[in-house]
C-alpha cells in the first residue's frame, strides 16, 4: 500500500482529496489505479511530472517499482539553467 499525496491541479482532479492509499507495486500499476478512480488524471501525470518516492525524485519513472508503505508525490518537471 502506497500513500499518494496530491496537490494543486491533481488534487482538484481527484475531487479535492489530498491523500490516497493505493495498492500498487510499480509505477504503471499506480498510474492505472489512479486513472481507474479518477479518469483523465493520468494525462496530467504521465510525461509532465516526475515521480517522488520517499523524497527521491525520479524524472523517468516508467519501470520504477513502488516499495510498500512509501510516500508518493508527483512533482512538476522543470528545466535547469
Amino acid at each position: 500500500m502506497a500513500r499518494v499525496l496530491l496537490s494543486g491541479a491533481l488534487r482538484r482532479h481527484a475531487g479535492g482529496r489530498a491523500e490516497l492509499a493505493i495498492e500498487a507495486r510499480t509505477y504503471r500499476e499506480l498510474l492505472a489505479a489512479l486513472e481507474a478512480r479518477f479518469p483523465g488524471i493520468a494525462s496530467l501525470i504521465e510525461g509532465r511530472t516526475s515521480l517522488a518516492i520517499d523524497g527521491e525524485i525520479i524524472a523517468d519513472p516508467l519501470l520504477e517499482t513502488i516499495p510498500p508503505r512509501s510516500e508518493i508525490h508527483f512533482v512538476p518537471r522543470v528545466a535547469g539553467g
Binding site: 510525461g47 512538476p76 535547469g80 539553467g81
Partner: protein, 756 residues
C-alpha cells in the same frame, strides 16, 4: 574505491586544485569558439528581423535580394516543415517543438521586435547584411501586449488564438494570454496565517534580464549531396542541438552530426537553438557551408532573457519566530511563446523553510517580448527576492536575528517541501550556521552601510550522461564525455577518473566528444555535469578496474577475488608472492591478455542532491544620489563534496556577480512599441571589475548519499540569494524596503525620499 559519501576517506585528487587540461589553449588564444571556425567556399548568413512587436505576415518576397550581388540563398518559414504542437522532453525541460520552430523562423505572425522572419546567405557578411534590405515583407501591424496588466486584461489582444490555459479544471472556454496556471502546496494556508502573531503581505516586481554571456551565438553548417549535415556550434549541449535541428528540419538524427566548439558562456541561454537550423537550411539551399554569428544587438533582442515578474507573498510567524503560513501568487512573463520558469519559481519560493500550511499559485503569461530562455536556477532568483525580503521583514518585526529566524524555520531532512516530497539529507542548517559563525557577520559597519542576509535553494538535475574511459597502451587514460565544458568540468571528470584508477591526474586526458563519438548525453546545465557525468565517469572507471583485476588474476593464475586494485596497481590480497601490476604494465600486456582496456557507462543519474546557500552582503548607500555599492560579500554554499574547489568557488563567485547585476542595474528597457532601448553592453549594465569587492566563497560539505563521492550540483544555487541579500542590506542601511528591480540609483533615491 570510494567508501560512499559519509566516510572520511583521504582522497588523493578529489578536493585538490590542479590546472585544467584545456587551460593552455584558452590562455594562448588557440581554443576555438563558435565564431572561430571557417570552411573553404563558406557563405555568411544574416537574419532579417521583425521591426514590429506584433504583426501578421502577409507576404515575403525575396526576389530583389536573390538578384543582389553575392546572394546564394534566402529562406523563411516556408522552408521549414509545419510542426503540430507537441510537448516533448528532450533533455532539460518541457519544449514545444511548434513554438520552437516558430521562434527560430516566424510563421504567420511576428510576436516580438527582433523576431526572425527570413535569412539570407551570401559570399560575405557585408553582402548578406545588405541583401536583407532586398527582402520585402508585407505586415499587418497588430496592437502589441507589452506588460502583465495588458496581457491579463479581459479584452487583451491575443498572441495565440488557440492558447487555452492549461492546469485549469474545467478548461476555460476562451483563449487568453495565460498559457498555464500552476498550483501547489499543502495544509490550509488561511488557517496557518490566522495562527500567526505577525503577518507580512507585499508585492515585488522584477524586469527581464539577460544571461549576458560574452560570446554571441554562432554556428557553421555544411550539408553534403548525400543529405548528411555537419554542424559546428557553441551550445550547452550538442545532443540537444542535434535533436532540435532534426525535429525542426524533419531530418533523421543519424544524418546530423554536431561538433561542439568551446562555448563562451551560456548560463541556460544556450540550452535551445536559434541559428543552427537556419544555417543548415541555408547550407542545403545554397549547396555551400554557411556561417552565422549573431551581433550583440541580436543576442539581446532575439535570444531568451528571463522573465519579468510580479510576485505577491503573504507570510506569517509566531512571536518567537516560527513560520505558520506562506501564500504566494506568481505572474511570470513568458515572452512570445509559453514557457516561463513560473513552475520552478513556485517550487523554490518557500523551499528553504519548513512551513506546515503553504500555497503557491503561478501564471505563465505570454506577451510581445522575446521568448524567455533558461537563466541559471530559472525562476528562483525573483521568487527569492520576494520570500527572503518578507522573511527579513518578519524577523525585524519580532526583533529576531535574521539568521536565527531562518534557523528556526530551516528545511531539513524529512521536512515536506512546498512542491510535495520530503527532503532527503540537505545542508541548509549547516550553511546558516557557517554564515553566522563567519567573521563577516560580526564585522563593524561604517555610516550609510548595511548588512543583508538571504538563503537560496535549487533542486539540481540528474538526467542522462555517458562516458568512456580508455586505457592507452602506455597506461595513460582518455576520458570521453558528451558535455561541453564551460566551468572547468573537464578537470573535475579527470580528477574523478584519476581518483578511481589511482593514477596521476596529469595522465588523464578528458575529451568532449561530438554526437557521433559518444553515447547520448543531456546538456550542460541544471548544475548536473560533475554530478551526473561524474557518476558515469566513476562507473566507467570502475568497469575498467574490474577488467584490470581480471587481467592480473589471469596473469597470476589466481581467483579474481584474491586481487584488489589499490593506489594504481593490482595487488594480491594475500600479500606476498606477487609484485603489484601497475596500470602501465597491464596496459602494455593488454593485447596478450584479452585486448584493449576500455570502460563505458551510460546512465540516467539517480540520487540527485538538492543544495542550499546562505549569503551575507554589505552595501554602502549614497543618501544624496541613491547609488548602492557592494562593499563586502560572503557566499556560503553546500557542495556535498567539492571535487575541484577552485571551480566550485568560481561558480559561487560568478553566480553572486550575476545576482548583484540583476539586483542593481540590469533591465530590459522597452519603448511604447516594444522595441528594446538598450541592446548593448553600455546601457545594459552588467557589473564591471571595479563594481565588485572580492567575493568570499565558503564551501560547506554535507555529502549527498546518492552520489559515490557525495557530490551536489553547485552551478545554480549561488544566483538565488544575491538579489534579496542586496535588498535586505539596503534596508539595513536606509530603513527603506526596495520591492522593485533593478535597485538603480534613481529608484533608491526616490524610495529614500518617499520613506527614508
Amino acid at each position: 574505491m570510494s567508501d560512499g559519501a559519509e566516510g572520511a576517506r583521504k582522497f588523493r585528487w578529489v578536493g585538490t586544485r590542479p590546472v585544467r587540461p584545456d587551460g593552455v589553449d584558452k590562455v594562448t588564444g588557440r581554443a576555438r569558439y563558435g565564431a572561430d571556425l571557417a570552411l573553404p567556399g563558406m557563405l555568411w548568413g544574416r537574419v532579417l528581423r521583425s521591426p514590429h512587436a506584433h504583426a501578421r505576415i502577409l507576404a515575403i518576397d525575396a526576389s530583389r535580394a536573390l538578384a543582389m550581388e553575392g546572394v546564394k540563398a534566402v529562406v523563411s518559414a516556408e522552408d521549414l516543415p509545419e510542426i503540430r504542437s507537441e510537448q516533448a522532453f528532450v533533455g532539460e525541460g518541457p519544449t514545444d517543438f511548434r513554438d520552437l520552430s516558430h521562434n527560430v523562423m516566424a510563421r504567420g505572425k511576428v510576436l516580438y521586435h527582433g523576431h526572425a522572419v527570413a535569412a539570407v546567405a551570401a559570399t560575405s557578411a557585408e553582402l548578406a547584411e545588405r541583401a536583407l534590405a532586398g527582402i520585402d515583407v508585407e505586415y499587418e501591424v497588430l496592437p502589441a501586449v507589452l506588460d502583465l496588466d495588458a496581457a491579463l486584461a479581459p479584452d487583451a489582444p491575443l498572441l495565440h488564438e488557440d492558447l487555452v490555459t492549461k492546469g485549469v479544471n474545467p478548461p476555460p472556454q476562451r483563449a487568453s494570454n495565460v498559457a498555464e496556471r500552476v498550483e501547489m502546496g499543502h495544509g490550509d494556508v488561511e488557517a496557518g496565517l490566522a495562527r500567526a502573531d505577525v503577518v507580512v503581505e507585499r508585492e515585488f516586481t522584477t524586469r527581464p534580464v539577460h544571461q549576458g554571456y560574452i560570446e554571441p551565438h554562432a554556428a557553421l553548417a555544411e550539408i553534403g549531396e548525400d543529405g548528411r549535415a555537419t554542424i559546428w556550434c557553441s551550445s550547452q549541449g550538442h545532443f540537444m542541438v542535434r535533436a532540435y535541428t532534426a525535429k525542426l528540419l524533419g531530418m533523421e538524427l543519424s544524418s546530423i552530426r554536431v561538433i561542439p566548439a568551446e562555448i563562451g558562456g551560456g548560463f541556460g541561454g544556450k540550452t535551445t537553438v536559434y541559428l543552427e537550423p537556419v544555417a543548415t537550411l541555408l547550407a542545403r539551399k545554397s549547396g555551400r557551408p554557411v556561417k552565422m554569428v549573431m551581433s550583440r544587438e541580436e543576442v539581446f533582442r532575439a535570444t531568451g532573457p528571463t522573465s519579468g515578474t510580479r510576485i505577491r507573498v503573504k507570510m506569517g510567524c509566531t512571536r518567537d519566530g516560527r513560520l505558520t503560513g506562506a501564500d504566494a501568487h506568481l505572474e511570470y512573463e513568458a515572452g512570445a511563446f509559453p514557457g516561463s520558469p513560473v513552475t520552478a519559481g513556485a517550487m523554490t519560493i518557500f523551499a528553504p523553510y519548513d512551513v506546515a500550511d503553504v500555497r503557491i499559485v503561478g501564471l505563465d503569461v505570454v506577451l510581445n517580448t522575446p521568448k524567455v530562455a533558461a537563466y541559471r536556477a530559472p525562476g528562483a532568483p525573483m521568487a527569492a527576492f520576494a520570500a527572503e525580503s518578507a522573511v527579513d521583514e518578519l524577523a525585524r518585526r519580532i526583533d529576531l536575528d535574521p539568521i536565527e529566524f531562518r534557523l528556526r524555520n530551516a528545511a531539513r531532512e524529512g521536512v515536506q517541501a512546498p512542491y510535495g516530497p520530503r527532503f532527503k539529507r540537505i545542508g541548509h542548517v549547516e550553511t546558516l550556521e557557517a554564515a553566522r559563525a563567519h567573521p563577516h557577520y560580526r564585522a563593524p559597519l561604517l555610516p550609510n552601510q548595511g548588512r543583508g542576509v538571504a538563503s537560496g535553494f535549487w533542486f539540481n538535475a540528474g538526467l542522462q550522461s555517458s562516458a568512456d574511459v580508455h586505457i592507452n597502451e602506455d597506461g595513460s587514460v582518455v576520458v570521453t564525455s558528451g558535455n561541453p565544458d564551460i566551468g572547468g568540468s573537464r578537470a573535475s571528470l579527470a580528477i574523478l577518473a584519476a581518483e578511481e584508477l589511482g593514477i596521476d591526474y596529469a595522465r588523464v586526458s578528458p575529451i568532449v566528444a561530438d554526437t557521433s563519438q559518444v553515447a547520448y548525453s543531456d546538456l550542460t546545465g541544471g548544475s548536473r555535469v560533475t554530478f551526473a557525468t561524474g557518476m558515469a565517469v566513476v562507473e566507467a572507471a570502475r568497469s575498467v578496474v574490474r577488467q584490470l583485476r581480471e587481467r592480473a588474476a589471469a596473469i597470476w593464475e589466481v581467483d579474481l577475488d584474491d586481487v584488489e586494485w589499490r593506489d594504481g596497481a593490482a595487488r594480491l590480497r594475500a600479500g606476498a608472492g606477487r609484485e603489484p601490476l601497475g596500470l602501465a604494465e597491464l596496459a602494455a600486456r593488454a593485447a596478450r591478455t584479452g585486448g584493449p582496456l576500455a570502460g563505458h557507462a551510460s546512465l540516467t543519474a539517480r540520487g540527485v542532491g538538492a543544495a542550499f546557500g546562505t549569503h551575507i552582503c554589505d552595501v554602502e548607500v549614497d543618501p544624496e544620489t541613491g547609488s548602492v555599492r557592494v562593499v563586502r560579500y560572503t557566499a556560503v554554499q553546500d557542495a556535498g563534496r567539492a571535487i575541484h574547489p577552485s571551480y566550485v568557488e568560481g561558480q559561487m563567485q560568478g553566480g553572486v556577480a550575476q545576482g548583484i547585476g540583476w539586483a542593481l542595474n540590469e533591465e530590459y528597457l522597452f519603448d511604447a512599441d516594444g522595441v528594446m532601448q538598450n541592446p548593448g553592453f553600455l546601457d545594459y549594465r552588467m557589473p564591471v571589475a571595479s563594481d565588485l569587492p572580492m567575493i568570499d566563497a565558503v564551501i560547506v560539505e554535507v555529502p549527498n548519499p546518492g552520489h559515490p563521492y557525495g557530490v551536489r550540483g553547485v552551478g545554480e544555487v549561488p544566483i538565488v540569494p544575491p538579489i534579496p541579500a542586496v535588498a535586505n542590506a539596503i534596508h539595513d542601511a536606509t530603513g527603506v524596503r526596495m520591492r522593485e528591480l533593478p535597485m538603480s540609483p534613481p529608484r533608491v533615491l526616490e524610495a529614500l525620499e518617499r520613506e527614508g
